[in-house]
């Protein structure tokens, strides 16, 4: 999975546009959009919005979370919280990236917004790396990461699953050898092997 695929998935998000033309509804494979009436806002998928905007056929209405105050709040909340906070959109990075690159004029204070969204992403990414570290060094057997968006997951793939594979392999190796030899030593006694092999985990 690379960012272009994440973008492709994110392009299915609905966004409001104000078309400057009138047209019948468009019947697409997954549903119909429209009808378009000049001057009236209508919800369309992001890819269609970007396409129409490139042809100067509409104006994109930025989503309500895409403004300074809301994002400042989110950023503060993200800094304060130990966990990942819920993002206003599942694909906030993709939406921001697409809207701001195709229609910078439709978004007030575009550059500042760009910076703050990047900031939020960076905070979340470093948080992700810290918690991965805590997870690997800790004793936990699973981790729960709510509210993580696709692009953030992408940032640690495939290096994280690969490393976990190796770590698990070496751990198995270590415990297996311990069990083998301890069984060999206690062939007469027979008991106690269970606790011996377990000691590696509960040191």
């Amino acid at each position: 999975m690379d960012p272009t695929i994440v973008e492709f998935i994110g392009e299915k998000c609905m966004i409001s546009i104000i078309p400057n033309f009138s047209n019948e509804p468009l019947h697409l494979i997954y549903g119909s959009v429209g009808p378009f009436r000049a001057g009236f806002p209508v919800f369309v998928p992001l890819w269609l919005a970007a396409h129409l905007r490139k042809q100067q056929k509409c104006r994109i209405v930025p989503p309500e979370w895409m403004e300074m105050e809301t994002l400042e709040e989110i950023k503060e909340e993200e800094k304060r919280s130990k966990f990942f906070t819920k993002m206003p959109s599942e694909h906030y990075m993709v939406v921001a990236q697409l809207v701001m690159s195709t229609a910078p004029d439709d978004v007030p204070r575009c550059e500042e917004l760009r910076t703050i969204i990047k900031d939020i992403f960076d905070i979340r990414e470093s948080k992700l790396r810290t918690s991965i570290d805590a997870f690997i060094k800790g004793e936990g057997t699973y981790a729960k990461l709510d509210n993580l968006t696709l692009l953030e997951m992408h940032s640690v793939r495939p290096i994280l699953p690969y490393s976990l594979d190796h770590i698990a392999r070496y751990q198995r190796m270590a415990t297996a050898s311990q069990r083998d030899t301890s069984m060999m030593n206690t062939t007469g006694g027979g008991t106690g092997t269970g606790s011996m092999s377990n000691s590696f985990f509960t040191q």
Binding site: T4, K137, S155, R157, P158, I159, Y162, S163, S177, D180
Partner: protein, 241 residues
């Protein structure tokens, strides 16, 4: 460690890393992997326990035809690992690196050890030696070392993509590092909207290459038809819907 074969190893590894399967899949030791062959090629110090008749040729310094008990010889790992752990003939002496590292793991920052300099296949070599270690130290060392170093790997692959710390990383780590750098470049390219062309997915591309190769060796008459037409996407711009 065998420094003379290092060049050969490098060459082979470079060739391998250009290979599709290794760049996109996780390494796992298997019979055909060149890394595994290199690891098992390493020499291990063994003490001879019993008199082995007519095996004197194994020891370069031996005067007799037989191998006398008490001598130390270097045997390749692939030979040793086929014997039982507590066989009557040899006792394996563990390499020093795993003893020194143990201290380092416990006392110092793991991220400062130059693993690649210690041994280019630190983890895999240790893995093979684990059963021979009566104190169960090696298994724990390699496990703990990688566990401690993953964060460091994540960080360096994110931050300094161009300066590759060659001698600091073991073979496994270098692969992980490459994977991390690759992810990061993809992300940066996406952010700058520079990689926006639609490209064939790597899987399909590799498949086509194989097919072309097969076609060429087969017969140039009938084979060429499949290779063109709808496959010419890589240079095409993202279609403006």
């Amino acid at each position: 460690m065998a420094t003379d074969s290092r060049e050969l190893q490098d060459l082979a590894l470079k060739h391998k890393s250009s290979c599709f399967y290794l760049s996109t899949m996780n390494y796992f030791p298997n019979y055909y992997s060149i890394e595994d062959i290199f690891v098992t090629q390493e020499k291990v110090e063994c003490k001879v326990n019993t008199r082995l008749q007519r095996m004197g040729f194994l020891d370069a310094g031996a005067e007799t035809e037989d191998l006398e008990p008490g001598r130390t010889i270097n045997l390749p790992l692939w030979y040793i690992k086929e014997l039982k752990v507590n066989n009557a003939y040899f006792t394996i002496a563990l390499p020093d690196i795993y003893k020194n590292v143990h201290k380092a793991v416990c006392e110092a920052e793991t991220t400062h050890i130059e693993l690649g300099r210690l041994h280019p296949f630190f983890y895999e070599f240790g893995c093979y030696l684990t059963p021979y270690d009566r104190n169960h130290v090696i298994g724990r060392i390699i496990f703990e070392t990688l566990r401690q170093r993953v964060r460091h790997l994540l960080d360096i692959s994110k931050n300094d993509a161009d300066s590759k710390p060659d001698h600091r990383l073991d073979n496994i780590e270098a692969k992980l590092h490459d994977a991390g750098v690759r992810t990061n470049t993809l992300y940066i390219n996406w952010l700058q909207m520079s990689g926006n062309n639609i490209r064939i997915s790597e899987l399909v591309e590799e498949h086509q290459k194989k097919r072309k190769r097969a076609d060429r060796s087969d017969d140039e008459g009938g084979g060429g038809a499949g290779g063109s037409g709808d496959m010419d996407m890589p240079t095409g711009k993202k279609p403006s819907w």
